[in-house]
Every structure is written in structure tokens, then in C-alpha cells.
Symmetry: C2
Subunit: 469 residues, 2 copies
């Protein structure tokens, strides 16, 4: 299909780069292109408004990101937006409104994955999807995930304004709970879409730290109304011919090297663990040191061991973090009787990562012996394999960046994303844009309007190409 | 005054031990004793009801302890009763009602120290005081402090039922916020009574973790109404001729050695520190290990160093605890950008304890260099000297235990108490009773009815003796 594939690209280049002629293209033998032409010919791309409107839209995207950041339970510039809270529900409504304005038909599933569809000329074909998440961990920033949702809606609008007409339908997906904040499960929505039976089962009984069940929380947000079995969310294989996610890098590489676009070839394999120790606690003054079994010190020792075991791997690609460490009862004059820690470890090498997990487990057991505490929990919450991007999708992204004259580099995503799970049911690819100092998951997180609009253009081009394949 | 001193003791022994004759005592030369006799002669201690009522009262004390434990923000058997919360206010009302029933005149000061007074025959003399606290750290037990408040009211009632009439007035004191839970200040009420100018000043501006000011919190509980300056709480020196506190040991010694009563000769010197580290945080997947400055690991390292430095002191009397360790933002996939830890360290040797604090400080500074984090706070919240019991008070307690045929031992209090601060403005002594396995500050905390009633009897005897000195 090289022939009208080229046509579309030139068409979009006209739009993006103000080359104002598009008449010398032969495509009569292709009905889908004829319909494209009909659409297109009815729309003048020659008025300067077309271009000003595009740059305007870049600003509009920034405005939308700023507006969405207002739905937060933390004071600006921090953003806290946790699954199914009032602020999350308001933010979802905001995105659905944007989808409606963009002329997308909106659908939600039982856990609140939101789908905005633009029917192609052959709606029976597997669709091309793009999207990300809008939930935000406590005191984080406003770009993580959001750029890939609002940017996707904008990419669709760009294609519409350009007069482009897709063959395969295009869908924007807002994924539920990419962040594990509330129920300890990351990428909850995309895991379910990818058909995780285990998750569907555990969601029937799981509760948050306030003992609110997942199902009650979902219902309070208007989801999971008439069903406890959430397997209705599973996607049929072949639903999508491709999935592309636009995201800030969350690392410093693109900014350091002055490169506009990162093309992700693989996503590192993440795992998360929950560990709990228990001791006798007691009064901080009255219980002498030899009589103690301090669950808090056990946790501190394990936290430092996580760092040690990760560094022992010898690879810069291995990372491990203790982001949660809680002591019970949590009083200055009380020896901790319980501790709870959550560990995140990742690697592009699954085997090496699993060895780190094994060492962490061995150390936890050793600590129980040296400190006389009980290991009341050592639970591997998730232990996922890495994901590889699809070659055709990578090619489409690379071509798009070339045609837009943007610098790009192939890279690995060390952070994981809904794409990790979408890769199980669809060919997958990711587009990274630079972010300030690689900051993410904190208020200083920032991506420039220019970098975001580059990302949106590459996404639009890539969607257009894949929608015709 | 040995003469009628003996009289009183015999009188009480009659009451406690059912010896039913008290006629061969000459005391006519003492008006206070005559009035005592008038009181006494109108009250028959010969009816069996007197003794059954005493044993009944032991049960009544247990019932009161159980009832008070119901004013809690944690599910039983845990008790959580934090300063100026609704549950604290209800518990205070309960104690004031008990004081009223016992015929005490009730007074409260600006921070909610509660005083229940029984006027003696010479109300102009410095009074003899006893008391403790009823606030409870999160998820703790129902005996810590409470035994010394409800037990004191019961001791007064015992004296009244016995027909005893004090010369010096007797006062039961409920101290505000012995526990540092809410504002990070331990023994808040007794520190103020002891005249701490620093505390009076800091209370004007201090806030809790929810940013509620101390003054607003106090006002919500009905205190500090018309004043920001709380120096009105300071006691004049000489207000009390003696202060005695009845308390569970919070250690295992009395139970292990099968001894009924501990007579405290000194209270270990406590200190508490607040330390905060700050780093850059970032995404747990995207920021590689060499680029991290993890504030959480800095805190874990310091927590383990506290233990190390305490053990290095070489003395079993040195203790150190990290009861609070908090990470920000506290998400599994976010590198901690801030950590907050609170350290409690104590020793009967003030100098040795201060050396431990110095080592902790040096280690905190070393950690900032090795981990590239900032030490944003290293605050010594309090650093108090030890307190010695008053010899006359110790003698009175020892004599009381002998006359009640109870085993006793002289001991050190490693936990500190309001007595530590009352010792600054009054001769002080403490009575310890055994508690199960030395457990305290947790739900398993327990003292038997028999041990509590022994403690109440010793307290009653001691108050009686000191009220006549």
C-alpha cells in the first residue's frame, strides 16, 4: 500500500509544514482514498488559520493539562489524583467532555477504562488505539500519563482538521489506575484489558488501606454496577491492530542528548513486593535493648538490603526502591511492633531481576533469625516479564519522526506503562518526549509545549499510517 | 508526730485487715486527731459490709478502667486516646464525674490539668498530691497512667470510708498529654505545672501534623479560652509538700521476681529528637541507582545507627528507639524525596545519654555526605535530666508496704512520667505495680486486680502519712 501511504504523509506534511500544494497525486484506484479525498477537498488547509490553529492547539493542550491538574487532592503544583476519588471522577468527566468535543464516540467498561472512538472507513477492521492514564500518585506532577491521553485526543483532532480520513478506526483509551496507589495494583485497567484472570478474581475481594472494597469504590465512581465478575473487561485478541502510547520519558536521556523523540523498543520488567515484620513492641523506655525484637529496625535493615542486592547485580539497568515503609503503632515512645514495606524492582533482564527478588527474600528470612521478628508477609504483588515493541509500529514511528525532521533515538523504557500489558493483546509501541531533568512523580515534573507538540505530531502521523495498513 | 502517725496507721490497718479493735490509743492532745475521731466514731468499720465493700471496690476500679477504655479511637482491646480529641474530652468528663462522686472539689487549668481536692483540717498547709495521665498512644493499652488516676480517686475514697481525716489537703491530679502523640511534646501538662517558660512560649505557635494549632485544639476541648499565655498554669513552689504517682511498671522486673510493689528511687533521663532528610525523589523505574539520593534509605540508615550507638554505650541502662519513620510521598513506585524520623533515647546517666545523641548527630551528618541528601532538620525536642525521689516520700512508701505485709523493692523507672517534672516543684515518689510480661504501649498491657488493689492501698497509706507530716 506504499502508494496512498505516501499520499497521506504528504497530505499531513502539507498541514504541518505549510507546503501549500497537494494536487499531483494519483489514487483513483483506491476507494478508501477517494473518500479521503472527498473529505479532504472539502477542507481548505491553505488558510493561515490552519497553521495558527495548530500552534494554538499546542497552547490549548497545555491549557488542558493545567486545567486537568486542578482536579487534585494536593495543593498545586503537586497533583494527587487517586483511583475513584471525587477528583478522579471529575477528571474523568473532563476527559470524556474533551473526547465528545473532538467528535469521538465515548464508551466506558466495568472498571472505568474509557474509550473514545473515531470510526474509520472500514470499521470492521481491527482498530488502531492510543492512550495512557490520568491518575497521579500523591504529591506528583501533571504530565505523567496525562500527555498521552490529552495528547492523543489532540492528535485525533489534528488528523480531523487536516481532513484525513482513517481506514481502520482510531481509538483513544484512558486506562484505569495505572498507578498502584489505592489498591497496590499497577496498570489495573490495562492488566484487565489484557485478560488477567488472577486480577479479575482478586478484584472481587481486594480492599484499600481504609478497608473499602474495590467493588464498592468502583460503584461509588459509577462503575462495576451490575457485576462482580469483571472479566467483561477482557479484550478479544485482535481488537486492535496496533497500540501506541505517548509519554514523557521520566528519565534524563532525551534532554541530556538534546533529542526530540524517543522510540521505545522494550519496556523493563517490573515486580513489586509487600513485606511485613512483626515483633513484641513495647515501651521505648522500659524494654531494655537485649529484650527487644524491633519490627521497625527489621524493615530498615531490609530496605538497605534491597539497595545492596540491586547494586550487586552489577548492571545499571537493575533498579530497586522502597517507596513505602510504615511502622505500627507509630509513636515516638513505642517500639514498633509491626512494619510494612513495599518494594519495587525492575530490570530489562527478567532473570536478573528475579535473582534480586530471591536475595531480598533470603535477607528477609535472615533478619527474622537475627532480630527475633516474625516475617508475617512476603508477597510478590506482581512479577511481570518485559515487553518488546512491534517492529511495524517502531518503523511507523521512525518514519514519522524522519518526515517531521525530528531527531529521535531508539531506547528502553525503564518505567513501565499500560503499554506493557497492551503488548499482550496488540502490537505495541511507545513515543517518548523529553522532560525536565527526567523528573517524574514529583511536582517539578515538566514537559515543554514544543516537546509535547512534537510528540503529538509524531503520534498523529503514526496513527494515520497504521490506520491505513 | 510519731504518736498520732501510729494512730492513723493502725486505724487504716483496721480497715484493710479487719482487726476490729482501736480503742487503746491516746491522742487527746491533738485537735486534728480529735476531729478525726469524731469523723471516725460516726462510722462503723465493724460491719462486714466495710470489708466486702473494699474488695468490691477493687472490682469497681477494674470496672472503671474497663469503662474508661471505651473512650478510644481504636477497636478494643487497643486504646487510642489522643489529646483534645472527642474521646479525650469524654474520658476527662468521666474522671471529673468520679472525682465529684468521691466528694472532691474539681478544678481545671488552662491546658486541662484536672485537680480534685479533698480539704484537710489545715487547708492552709501545702497539700499532698497524687495522680497520673489518661491519654493513650495509638493502639496501646488501658492501664498506663489510668491506674494512677482512677487508683488515686479510689485511694481517697478508701481513706474517706475508713473515716480518716487528713491534716494537709489531698489532691488527685489528671495531667494533660503525658504522651507526645499529638504535638510531639511529652508530659505537656506537668512540664507546664513545673514552670517551663520555653514550653509556654512554644505552645503559642506549635501545630499538630494536621496543622491544627495547640491553642485551637485546646479551645475545641474547652480550655485556654481567654488566654494565649499559658504561664497561668505554672505552680507556685511549695504548692505541694509531696507528690506520689501510682503506675504500672511497664517492665518485667516485679513480675519476674514475684514482688508486689516497686518503690521508685529515680527516673531515667529522657530525650527525644526529630530528624528530617531530603533528596530529589523521582520515579522508581526511571532514575538509575547512581543518580539517586534516597531520603528513605538515609532514614533507615540513621535508625540502625541509633541502635548501634546505644549498644556501643555498653550499659544496659541506655536505650534508644525509632518509633516514627515516615516517607514522602509514600508511593511504591516513587523514590522517597523526604523522610521524617523521631528518636527516643534514655539513660539513668544523663551524660552517657547525651554522648549517644552526639553520635547520632555525627552519623546523620555523615549520611548527608555519603548519600547526597540534605539534613533539613535535626531538632532536640527535649533533653531532660533524671529525677531523684524524695527520701521522706520513699520512707513513707516503704513503711506503708511493710505495714501492709507486701513485698517491695527499690527500683529505677526507665520509662518517664509526669513525676519527672513534678519533682522540679515538689518532693516526689512513685509506686510501681507489676504488669503482665512488662508489656506496655500495646493492647496486651495488663495489671491484675490484686496488684492494683495493693498499689491503691500503699498509695492510700502513703498519702495518709504524708498528709499528717
Amino acid at each position: 500500500m506504499v502508494h496512498h501511504y505516501h499520499y497521506v504523509i504528504v497530505l499531513l506534511l502539507l498541514f504541518f509544514t505549510s507546503i501549500s500544494s497537494h494536487q499531483h497525486h494519483d489514487h483513483d484506484h483506491d476507494p478508501s482514498i477517494i473518500s479521503t479525498m472527498e473529505q479532504f477537498s472539502g477542507y481548505s488547509i491553505l488558510e493561515p488559520t490552519s497553521f495558527s490553529s495548530l500552534s494554538y492547539d499546542a497552547q490549548a493542550l497545555q491549557n488542558q493539562i493545567d486545567e486537568l491538574s486542578g482536579f487534585s487532592d494536593a495543593p498545586a503544583p503537586s497533583v494527587t489524583r487517586v483511583l475513584y476519588t471525587d477528583k478522579d471522577v471529575l477528571a474523568r468527566r473532563y476527559v470524556k467532555n474533551l473526547m465528545g468535543i473532538a467528535g469521538l464516540s465515548v464508551r466506558e467498561d466495568a472498571v472505568g477504562n474509557i474509550f473514545g472512538r473515531w470510526d474509520g472507513s472500514e470499521p470492521g477492521l481491527a482498530a488502531v488505539a492510543t492512550g495512557s492514564h490520568i491518575d497521579a500518585i500523591p504529591y506528583s506532577g501533571k504530565y505523567d500519563g496525562v500527555v498521552g491521553v490529552l495528547g492523543a485526543v489532540e492528535a485525533i483532532s489534528v488528523l480531523k482538521r487536516s481532513g484525513f480520513k482513517p481506514k481502520r478506526s482510531l481509538e483513544v483509551i484512558l486506562f484505569t489506575s495505572e498507578e498502584p496507589t489505592r489498591f497496590g495494583i499497577s496498570c489495573l485497567g490495562s492488566r484487565l484489558l489484557a485478560g488477567s484472570e488472577n486480577l479479575a478474581n482478586s478484584l472481587k475481594t481486594i480492599t484499600d488501606s481504609q478497608n473499602v472494597s474495590f467493588l464498592d469504590a468502583a460503584r461509588s465512581a459509577g462503575y462495576a454496577r451490575d457485576e462482580d465478575d469483571l472479566s467483561s473487561v477482557f479484550l478479544k485478541k485482535g481488537t486492535y491492530s496496533a497500540f501506541i502510547e505517548l509519554h514523557i520519558e521520566q528519565g534524563p536521556i532525551l534532554e541530556d542528548e538534546g533529542i526530540s523523540i524517543g522510540i521505545v523498543t522494550a519496556i523493563a520488567a517490573p515486580a513489586s513486593l509487600r513485606v511485613e515484620f512483626e515483633g513484641n513492641g513495647g515501651h521505648a523506655g522500659a524494654v531494655l535493648m537485649p529484650n527487644r525484637n524491633d519490627a521497625g529496625l527489621a524493615a530498615s535493615e531490609l530496605a538497605l538490603a534491597v539497595e545492596k542486592h540491586v547494586l550487586e547485580s552489577g548492571s545499571v539497568d537493575t533498579v530497586g526502591t522502597v517507596g513505602i515503609l510504615q511502622l505500627h503503632p507509630g509513636a515516638i515512645n513505642s517500639i514498633p511492633s509491626k512494619s510494612h514495606i513495599e518494594i519495587d524492582t525492575r530490570d530489562i533482564d527478567e532473570e536478573r531481576r528475579n535473582q534480586v527478588i530471591e536475595k531480598i527474600h533470603e535477607t528477609a528470612i535472615r533478619i527474622t533469625k537475627t532480630r527475633g521478628v516474625k516475617l508475617t508477609e512476603f508477597h510478590i504483588i506482581n512479577q511481570d516479564p518485559p515487553a518488546l515493541s512491534d517492529e511495524a509500529v517502531v518503523n511507523a514511528m521512525e518514519t514519522a519522526t524522519k518526515e517531521l525532521n525530528l531527531t529521535s533515538k531508539l531506547m528502553i523504557s525503564r518505567a513501565y506503562h499500560d503499554s506493557l500489558f497492551m503488548a499482550r493483546v496488540s502490537p505495541m509501541g511507545m513515543i517518548f518526549i523529553p522532560c525536565y531533568k527526567g523528573y517524574s512523580h514529583k511536582p517539578e515534573e515538566f514537559a515543554s509545549i514544543k516537546d509535547m507538540s512534537n510528540g503529538v505530531k509524531v503520534l498523529a502521523f503514526t496513527l494515520a499510517k497504521l490506520s491505513l495498513q
